[in-house]
Structure formats: C-alpha cells, structure tokens
C-alpha cells in the first residue's frame, strides 16, 4: 500500500504540497494579496525610519554607525521573516489543541510538526522580508566583500532563519501544557529580533553571554556581522565565534525538536 516513501525527504514533500495549496488559495484573490504585501512593506519601513530618526541625534550607537546598524537590522529582519514564513501555525498550536484540530492532524500520515508548519501557510511576510532585505542590501554596499565574507553572509542568513525557527517552535510548545500563554514566546522571538537590531555592545556583559551560550540569539547576526564589518569583538570574545552561526543553528534546532517531541508526547499521554 505505501509506495516507496522517500525517507527523509517525504516530510519535506508533504510540507511543500500543503503549503502550495494555501498559496494557490490566496492567489485566488491576487489584488488583495499584493496589497497586503505592499502594505506590510510600507509598514515595516516605518520600523527602520525609527532607527534613522535615532541617528538624527547621534552619530554612533554603542560604537556602531548607522550603516553598520543597518546591516545588523537587515540581517535579523530577513532571518525572522523567513522563519516566520516557515513556521505557519506553530504559534497557534494552543488553539489547535482546544478546537481538536490537532487530533485530526494526528490521524494523517504526515509528521505533526510538518502539518502545523504548513497549515495556513502564507507569503504575507514577504513584505517584511523585502524591507529587511533592502536595508541589508543598502548596508551591504559599504561592506568590504571577500569570498570568505560572502560565505559567512550566506551562512548567516540560513542560520538566522533556523535559529528563529527553533525559537518560534521551541517556545510555542508551552502551549501543549498551558493553552493560554502564547504571548510568552514573543519575548524570545520578537524580543530576540528587537535585541539584535542593536549592536550587542549596548547590553551589559551578562546579557551578551546569555545570548551567546544560553540562547544563541547572538549568532543570528551579531557574530557574523562582526566578521563582515571587520570589527573587533567589543567584549573581547574569541574571533572564531564569528564563524559559529551554523553550529548555533544546529544546536537550537535540535533543542527545539526535542522540546516539540516532549510536548507532543505530553499531549498524547494526557489528552485534552
């Protein structure tokens, strides 16, 4: 009955199949869809205007200039934008528990995480991703590019997406235990994003260490960007950290998946 499943690739294919369906459904109303993206592009532009206004009063913040901060801002914005797109309905898992939709998903031969992430897949975040990308692109023109730096930049984009994905997923799992506190995750996901819009040198050492070794949010943009900008680590931490974003990504993802598995196990052991 089960024709050759492609092993590891099978979940990815299911994800794409489901996601494509949602995109097609949204595309049934093209004007509304495009307006939404355009709208979110303009709205997130306001976000960067805030930073630009900041620099009307100062020249550097935490020792970093506007263009350097723009690089940080763009990098973290792209990462969280991609991650936000990939996670689909993970943030809403509490609602799915309550409405019984989670049970229905469990009767299908697709891993639960894939189904939840693909559910109500939307390209709404394209606006935010584009805005962050534009800012990053502008800042990137001031970077002294070398092949190594290009590689680090690419790794940074992928790693930041994975790290934010892990944050979204891991912290949303609290909804398996208490369905009411979905806002808890925001402190780490959107909070993490906001934190990394600024150079971490504005924070005390303890916070920076926490963001490096406890929750690897600093690897989203800070360490790779130090390398891209050719800057010394203001806290005096070793330079090799600047190449470690993929490791941080793998570690975060593993952690998030473990938490997810534990959450699902809790759900199936206690019912709703």
């Amino acid at each position: 009955m089960a024709d050759g499943s492609l092993g590891v690739l099978a979940p990815a294919r299911s994800y794409v199949d489901i996601a494509v369906l949602w995109v097609r459904a949204a595309w049934a109303y093209p004007t509304s869809f495009l307006m939404l993206i355009l709208g979110s592009l303009l709205i997130t532009a306001l976000d960067f205007v805030g930073i630009w206004v900041m620099f009307a009063s100062i020249d550097t913040l935490g020792g970093f200039g506007l263009r350097e901060i723009a690089l940080l801002y763009g990098a973290t914005g792209v990462g969280i934008g991609f991650a936000d797109t990939l996670i689909g309905s993970v943030e809403r898992i509490g609602i799915y528990v309550r409405t019984g939709r989670l049970d229905q998903m469990l009767t299908k031969p697709v891993p639960l995480l894939v189904q939840v992430c693909a559910d109500q897949f939307t390209l709404r975040r394209l606006g935010r991703i584009s805005q962050a990308g534009i800012v990053f692109g502008w800042a990137a023109t001031y970077v002294d590019w070398t092949p190594a730096r290009v590689l680090v930049a690419l790794m940074m984009v992928v790693s930041s997406t994975v790290i934010f994905f892990a944050l979204f997923t891991g912290f949303s799992c609290i909804q398996f235990w208490t369905t009411d506190s979905s806002e808890f995750a925001n402190a780490f996901t959107y909070g993490g994003n906001t934190m990394t819009e600024y150079p971490l040198s504005i924070f005390p050492r303890e916070i920076m260490l926490a963001l490096t070794f406890v929750l690897p949010i600093a690897f989203v943009n800070w360490y790779p960007c130090l390398y891209l900008l050719g800057r010394e680590d203001p806290f005096g931490l070793p330079t090799w950290l600047q190449f470690c974003s993929p490791i941080a990504a793998v570690v975060s993802l593993a952690g998030a998946l473990l938490i997810w598995r534990s959450g699902v196990r809790h759900y199936t052991s206690t019912g709703s």
């Binding site: 009955m1 097609r24 009767t107 019912g271």
Partner: protein, 320 residues
C-alpha cells in the same frame, strides 16, 4: 492475529481541579478500564454506550492520538501510538462533529492534497474519486469551499476523503449526527456497499440505534469505560430484555388496552403506551389492538441506547 486487538486496556485521566487559588486537588478518572476485544478484517462493528462511557477515548487510542495508561493495542499488527504515521496510511477516520477537510478551500483541493499526502497512485485515485463522487453525489460540490457546505454535504465529503487511500479500517465517530432522515439512509447504504464490495472493516460509534440496526452485525456496548456486552445485535435485545413501545391513539379515551404480548403502562386520555419485547414482531400486537379497539393512529418507539444498556444491568426485570 485479528486486525484490531485490544487487551486489558486502561486509560485514566487526571483531572486538575482548582480548589481556590493555586491549590489543586487532583482526582483520577478511569475513562477506560479493563477493556478487551478483537475485530477481524471485514467486520462491521457498532461501538455504543452512553455519553462519557469511553467511546471517543477508545477511538483515540486505536488511532494513536492517545497513549493508553496500560494494556495492549495492536491495529494491523502495529502499536498505534508508536507507529502513528505508518498506521495512518491504512486507516480512515471520520469525526462526526469536526471535519478533516480544509475549511477555506474547495472540496476538490482537499481531495487533491489528500492524494499527495497519502501518495495514492493517479489511476487508483481517479477510480476511487469517480466512484465516491457518484455514490455520495459529490460531483456538483467539488468546487465549493468546505465552509459553505451543509452538514450533510460535509459529512459525505469527509467520508470520501477518508476512503480515497483505500484504508483497511474506517472509524466513524457519530457520522449521522445532525443529518436528516434521507441523508442518513443514503449514508448507511453507502457504508454497507463499502463493506460488501471492498471488505473495509468498519468501527462505528454512535448514539443512533438505527445506525446500528442498519449496519452492524456485531455490537460492543461500553459503559463506564468497560465492555458490558460484545456479540451479535440480536443477542443484545434479547439479553437486555429491552422493550419497544407501541403508542396507540384511540378514537376515544378508555381503560388500559389488554392484548396478549403487550402491557399498557401509561394512559393519557385517548393515548396509550404499550410495551412489548424488542425482539418480538409488532405485527400481531398491532393487529390485536386494531381488531379489539377503535384506533385512530399508532406508532412504534424504539428503545433508546440508554434504556437498552440500563436494561442490560437489570436483565431480570422486564420494563417497566
């Protein structure tokens, strides 16, 4: 080995009651207790019991949504909670009150997506889809978003969706709830055909005794988490000592009707309620009443599940 095997199944829930402030007094509720049965391939089994008896809990454990507290379950040789996705390919589930279809999308898209998810080869998918579209009269509804469908239409869509991948077992949880009489009849007809032609094993939980009468040769009755009856339907009536009721509207009010085989237990003006054994035919009683009395109208009431089960416990005492 049987297709579905359940042995000494236990499932307890811990209820966290908040008794003021943060203090919680936990209490355990045994939802399923000491449950054992086996179902062979091709059977059509009714799984009935009052509300809260543990029917949904059992189905959840059979489909792998819920882990048993103890005991053994094997479905198609697999342990449901451990091999959930493998098992999912071989079963279909229809929830009566919630749809498995994608709410905002047209029916056609849901089916197309399910084909991809279940990896059904094109030719088999086409064949199944055409057959179900015809039998369930879904053709004109293919492009309608699921949220715009009526309850009956949605139920038919759900059933088709659950069968597109040729599952060996179909679980139906209250499938006819909220449907009108005609739709119920057609649905039952479809399920009968399904079982006869494809040998799909059916496990049906329902409150509607008519569903059971129409579809199931075997019935498992569950009450307070444990099976109190497991056998042919005909035995159920006999064992439970359940009775049916003949409601007679006489032309004029009169004293209690007396006919062999029935007992009048309620008289309200010209209307009288007569009870007689459920496995007996109503025909001779009706004839006897019509001959001896001036009858304006009469009807037959089936016993409710609750009554059947209640009677199961007090089998010595014929009602009322």
């Amino acid at each position: 080995m049987s297709l579905i095997e359940v042995r000494d199944l236990e499932r307890t829930f811990v209820l966290r009651r908040r008794s003021g402030g943060l203090r919680r007094a936990p209490s355990t509720v045994p939802a399923v207790h000491d449950l054992s049965f086996s179902i062979e391939a091709g059977e059509m089994v009714g799984y009935i019991g009052p509300n809260g008896a543990g029917k949904s809990t059992t189905i959840k454990m059979l489909t792998g949504i819920l882990v048993p507290t103890s005991g053994e379950i094997r479905v198609a040789g697999l342990e449901p909670s451990a091999r959930r996705t493998d098992l999912a390919r071989r079963i279909g589930v229809v929830f009566g009150q919630r749809t498995t279809l994608w709410w905002d999308l047209p029916l056609r898209d849901s089916f197309g997506l399910l084909q991809k998810i279940y990896r059904v080869p094109d030719d088999r998918f086409r064949r199944n889809l055409d057959e179900f579209l015809e039998l369930l009269d879904l053709g004109p509804l293919l492009d309608t978003p699921v949220r715009q469908l009526s309850l009956g239409q949605r139920m038919r869509g759900d059933i088709a969706a659950a069968l597109l991948h040729d599952p060996e077992i179909l679980y139906l949880d209250e499938p006819t709830i909220g449907l009108d009489v005609i739709s119920k009849g057609r649905l039952r007809e479809f399920l009968r055909t399904l079982n006869a032609e494809r040998g799909t094993t059916l496990l049906l939980t329902t409150h509607d005794l008519q569903d059971i009468e129409a579809l199931c040769r075997r019935v498992i009755v569950i009450d307070h988490g444990t099976a109190i009856f497991d056998g042919p339907l005909t035995d159920l009536h006999r064992q439970g000592g359940s009775t049916r009721t003949l409601v007679v509207d006489l032309v004029d009010a009169g004293p209690a009707i007396e006919v062999p085989g029935a007992v009048a237990w309620k008289v309200e003006g010209p209307r009288q309620w007569l009870s007689f054994p459920a496995d007996a035919s109503a025909a001779p009683i009706v004839a006897a009443v019509a001959v001896a009395y001036d009858v304006a109208d009469l009807s037959i009431q089936e016993p409710a599940i609750e009554d059947v089960i209640r009677d199961l416990y007090s089998a010595t005492e014929p009602r009322p």
